[in-house]
Amino acid sequence: MDTKAPRTIVALGLEGSANKLGIGIVKHVYPSGISSDCELSPEYVELANVRDTYNPPAGEGFLPRDVAVHHRSTIITLIRQAFEEAKIGPQDLDCICYTKGPGMGAPLQSVALVARTLSQIWDVPLVGVNHCVGHIEMGRAITGAQNPVVLYVSGGNTQVIAYSQQTYRIFGETLDIAIGNCLDRFARVLMLPNDPSPGYNIEQYARRGSKFIELPYTVKGMDVSFSGILSFIEKMAKTEADKYSPEDLCYSLQETMFAMLVEITERAMAHIGATEVLVVGGVGCNVRLQEMMGQMAQERGGKVFATDMRYCIDNGIMIAQAGALAFARNFTTSIEDSWITQRFRTDQVHVEWRV
């Protein structure tokens, strides 16, 4: 391949691993071509980033079956909308990227099916993408963080990640449930609405809280555990509702859990000597978490990077972003291999586009 001629890659990204269906289109420009031995950092042009969220009624969580129905009935409209916004057509695509995992089986499957079909109709190669790596690459592209320690916090994941030797290594993670899962489940106990998201509503309640209630705090090395704190506070909310206000409970829950996250992130930073930290994933748009992380980073002479709701909540463009980078290194997924998997660890991906 001639590495001197300019090259562009236009990628469509389809994401539906949980209750958000996201479609994104990204254009990567390599003004002097793609060289084979250096880190890829193309100019990033966002062409479209649209999303539709399935929200169950207050007090309920989302079931994979219902989410899959939502994705199936919405995806074609949303893809059309993305193309209109991008002002391009299928003929302009270089690859179609879809979430291979991790996530919920039925929703992943319904989106993969559409990706596979479009790939064959339009004769455009497929690229299967790891959802977590999508979050990391999106965060790097938007914030310009070079080599940060990554805190990935969402409904299904809680991981402290650092890059080394073409792998996003997991330094610390939850030993039981994810932080977002813990927040969602507590929101259900308080019967907070699921719109726009349970975590957002907990954050609003927490802002009005002021009394700090002591809760279990469990950090083991660079790992954390949230199941103890959840059962503890659930019991408080149910049996001593007259003693503690929902606002104070939300406030104390956030203060305690976020302190645990900041602590393990800082431990990882000290361990590898990093000064930058990047927060990604749905819980990453919590302003209080960003603020606490910022204070920690500042005390270490470093900096925190975070993105807003367009990018930290699950979206299609992050799948396009990570997929386009892999595609630039000639990675594609054949139709036979275009299956999905509920479990796909961040450290299983060979990060060929970095050195």
């Binding site: 299904g156 090395g221 606490m292």
Partner: protein
């Protein structure tokens, strides 16, 4: 016995403590001063700082009583949240592994780690933050455990298994040949009846991480 700049040397700035080397009464000591974290609620901060200061001193003493090599505790100063302990000179296990090129030596030392950890667990001491940076090979080639700030006393099999899991993860993220290293550690750890339940639980803890539904 306040610390002044003239007589102390900062040897490590960790995530939650500054570690100084200093001399008191003609003895080289380490002063580990925990500092307050502005990001966390003052009540939580005070509780963690106080709790970890005391727990570290308590666990060190307990280890000492049971013949597990750790630094001597000299003094706890609650006002400044400082723990004064004996200074141990020598490379950390991490440094030693990275510099070592004899597989034989390595095997021997990893087996020692396994035996020490089993011994520690048999006295219900959970370290809480086992890494290859928290073990020092001293001048007489003894392996000395340090950094007991996250430790606890527990009889629970789960706590002991998680303790090993934390070390395994530290190996994986720090050492390229982690699998071989950690296998030797576990082999030596398993060299007793009571360890089997713990190792079986370790398998569960690992699976929990691998099999967790990670949607969202």
């Amino acid at each position: 016995m306040d610390l002044t700049m003239a007589e102390q040397e900062l040897i490590r700035q960790g995530a939650e403590a500054r570690v100084y080397k200093t001399v008191t009464n003609g003895r080289v000591v380490v002063a580990k001063q925990r500092f307050s974290k502005s990001y966390r609620h003052p009540d939580l901060d005070a509780k963690l700082t106080r709790g970890r200061l005391n727990q570290e001193a308590r666990s060190l003493k307990r280890c000492k009583e049971h013949g597990i090599c750790v630094p001597d505790v000299i003094r706890v100063d609650k006002n400044s949240a400082t723990l004064f302990i004996e200074f141990i000179s020598g490379p950390t296990l991490k440094e030693w592994i990275l510099a070592n090129d004899s597989e034989d030596q390595e095997k021997k030392l990893m087996a020692t780690v396994g035996r020490i950890l089993y011994n520690m667990h048999s006295f219900d001491i959970i370290h809480g933050d086992l890494t290859t940076s928290n073990m020092i090979l001293d001048n007489s080639n003894q392996l000395v455990l340090i950094d007991f700030g996250l430790s606890q006393i527990s009889t629970s099999i789960e706590d002991k298994a998680v303790d090993l899991y934390v070390l395994e993860r530290a190996f994986i993220s720090t050492h390229p040949n982690s699998e071989r290293l950690f296998a030797t550690v576990l082999e030596a750890y398993a060299d007793s009846e009571a360890s089997h339940l713990i190792l079986r639980r370790l398998e569960d803890v690992r699976q929990r991480g691998r099999k967790r539904d990670m949607s969202g």
